[in-house]
């Protein structure tokens, strides 16, 4: 399958209650607010806690050609290993894999993978807010890849947390920043120099103009 240049797919996996849905939505919102094109699909089982919970976010520098079901993905965000197999087959060779090393080993089965472990659960516990573990990992993911800025992530998080949970804003922000600080910055950059130049260049290979009846 061809790779859409200028688009980056992130497959999220975890167990219900680990923050997969809020984190994937935060990432997609931050990307959109920073002027990029984003799509978010979520797949979760019926139960609010403990079941499979997956999401996929695609971010692009131009209007997306990506589909709501990504056939192949550039990266993975894994909070736990229970449902790793539901996303592993779709990761491309050399995929960036950011995982919660407090709960899992570096997951295998991807050729030439670039794994980055962040002890997110432990760090969150040390900060006194165990529930913010996924935001720790998200901060790490953003700093490693530069897919969105940390400031953008924090701003998006602030917008998305519902009014009846605002007591968590400070803790979430702390977690994002801590995660960002815990990783080597831009060790696996999402964007190439040309893409970050912000020229808004079209991806290579322009599609045929479709004929459309008004």
């Amino acid at each position: 399958m061809s790779v859409r240049r200028g688009e980056r797919e992130v497959l999220f996996t975890g167990v219900g209650g680990q923050g997969i849905q809020i984190c994937s939505r935060t990432l997609a919102t931050a990307a959109t607010d920073e002027g990029r094109y984003a799509m978010l699909s979520a797949r979760y089982a019926g139960g609010m806690r403990g079941g499979m919970t997956n999401a996929e976010v695609t971010v692009g520098i131009a209007p997306l050609r990506a589909l709501p079901v990504a056939s192949s993905a550039w990266s993975a965000f894994a909070m736990s290993a229970e449902h790793w197999e539901t996303i592993r087959p779709r990761l491309r060779p050399s995929a960036v894999i950011v995982f919660n090393s407090s709960l899992m080993e570096a997951p295998g089965g991807v050729d030439d993978a670039q794994p980055f472990g962040v002890p997110a659960s432990d760090m969150a516990a040390e900060l006194g807010n165990p529930m913010t573990a996924s935001f720790v990992l998200l901060g790490g993911f953003a700093a490693l890849t530069g897919i969105v800025t940390i400031a953008g992530l924090v701003a998006a998080m602030r917008r998305l947390i519902p009014a009846y949970r605002t007591e968590h804003l400070a803790a979430n922000e702390m977690a994002i920043v801590a995660g960002a600080d815990a990783v080597p910055e831009l060790a696996a950059p999402a964007w190439s120099a040309a893409e970050t130049a912000g020229s808004g260049a079209e991806p290579a290979g322009s599609p045929v103009e479709p004929v459309r009846q008004a």
Binding site: T29, Y37, M39, V69, Q213
Partner: protein, 357 residues
């Protein structure tokens, strides 16, 4: 253009309100539920009324009543709930009441339900099938216009993917031109004047203002739907010179077809695509014309084969036609399953080409 990350359901709700929808009633049923939630949240602020009805049948009849007063009115469900509403859909058509139906379908592409209907009598429902959320926003507004223009119930055929995916959208109001005033709408003002209005499928009228009666009324309606058929078909054709294989699809599956066709063409496969944007009126002539030079038509729909019937009606005389979709449900029963996949689609296309006619 400022994009905001929105769930499809929210974008459609905003579009409906921008189009002037002021009444909405529905019954919770995934994946339609979020649209009901959004309308419940937003419509009152816009000066409208949203009712979480106790049954689908009550929801659609409330929407019918609201439409009778001249208000822009809508309801919806997934295919299962729309099935319950069928008698009322026919009633709207035969009463010439404009109501917009949002069908956020589950895993099955219910083409027959939208185009053949389940009500009684001779009527059709203009049906638009958007392939993505930005198109759903446009179609929602267009449907309110068409419903009023032709005084008929109309359908937006969405699905789980359109309802639940989040994407950056800029929901803007679109204008479609002026419409005549709704002289037929009921508000009580003609009561007692000797010229009171009447809305009745049998169109008998009243002693002072006799109506044509059911026979003539329903013949007139059949004529109206023939006129709509001739005027309102919409489609998208991507069939460059030299194309040998055309993939026909609608809705979300069409987005997957676009993606795969672009790749295959870059690899030198002489392939194109055709997408009915209106499922009814079905753009049969345009399909026949677009595929005139090609050898093979592949129909990709996620059901046991429904639109393929219309493809055969319009293009069977010249070309080999094959279904490459099928029934596909995911384990939750709420959305399409493994067949909604670009790799699977690509494999099926290549297999069909290799196997020949």
């Amino acid at each position: 253009m400022t994009l905001r990350l929105m769930q499809g359901s929210e974008a459609v709700a905003d579009a409906a309100i921008l189009a002037g929808c002021r009444f909405f009633a529905g019954y919770p049923m995934l994946p339609f539920t979020e649209l009901l939630e959004q309308m419940s949240r937003k419509l009152p602020t816009a000066g409208g009324v949203c009712i979480n009805a106790e049954t689908e049948i009550e929801a659609v009849n409330m929407a019918l009543g609201a439409a009778a007063t001249g208000a822009r009115s809508a309801t919806g469900s997934c295919g299962q709930g729309i099935a319950l509403m069928q008698e009322a859909v026919a009633e709207c058509a035969l009463n010439e009441l404009p109501v917009v139906f949002f069908n956020m379908a589950r895993g099955q592409q219910d083409y027959f339900q939208c185009t053949r209907g389940g009500g009684w009598g001779d009527y059709r429902t203009i049906t638009l099938a958007p392939k993505d959320i930005p198109e759903a926003v446009e179609h929602t507004q267009l449907l309110f216009h068409l419903a009023d223009q032709y005084r008929t119930p109309v359908i937006l055929l969405g699905d789980y993917v359109i309802a639940h995916t989040h994407v950056g959208v800029d929901v803007q109001r679109r204008e479609y031109g002026p419409l005549p005033a709704k002289e037929w709408a009921l508000d009580g003002s003609m009561s007692g004047t000797g010229q009171a209005r009447e809305i009745w499928t049998w169109a008998r009228g009243k002693p002072n203002t006799p109506g044509p009666g059911p026979n003539v009324h329903w013949q007139d309606l059949a004529e109206k739907y023939r006129a709509i058929d001739a005027a309102e078909a919409r489609w998208e054709a991507d069939v460059p010179e030299g194309t040998e294989v055309v993939v026909v699809s609608f809705g979300t599956t069409a987005a997957f077809v676009d993606y795969v066709v672009e790749d295959l063409r870059a690899e030198g496969v002489p392939i194109g695509s055709f997408r009915p944007v209106t499922l009814w009126p079905f753009p049969g002539e345009a399909l026949a014309e677009a595929t005139a030079g090609c050898r093979r038509i592949l129909v990709y729909e996620l059901n046991a084969g429904q639109m393929v019937d219309d493809v055969r009606i319009h293009a069977a005389d010249r070309r080999a036609i094959r279904s490459i979709g099928g029934v596909s449900q995911d384990s939750s029963g709420m959305r399409q399953g493994d067949l909604l996949d670009a790799d699977v689609l690509r494999t099926r296309i290549m297999q069909a080409i290799e196997e020949g006619d």
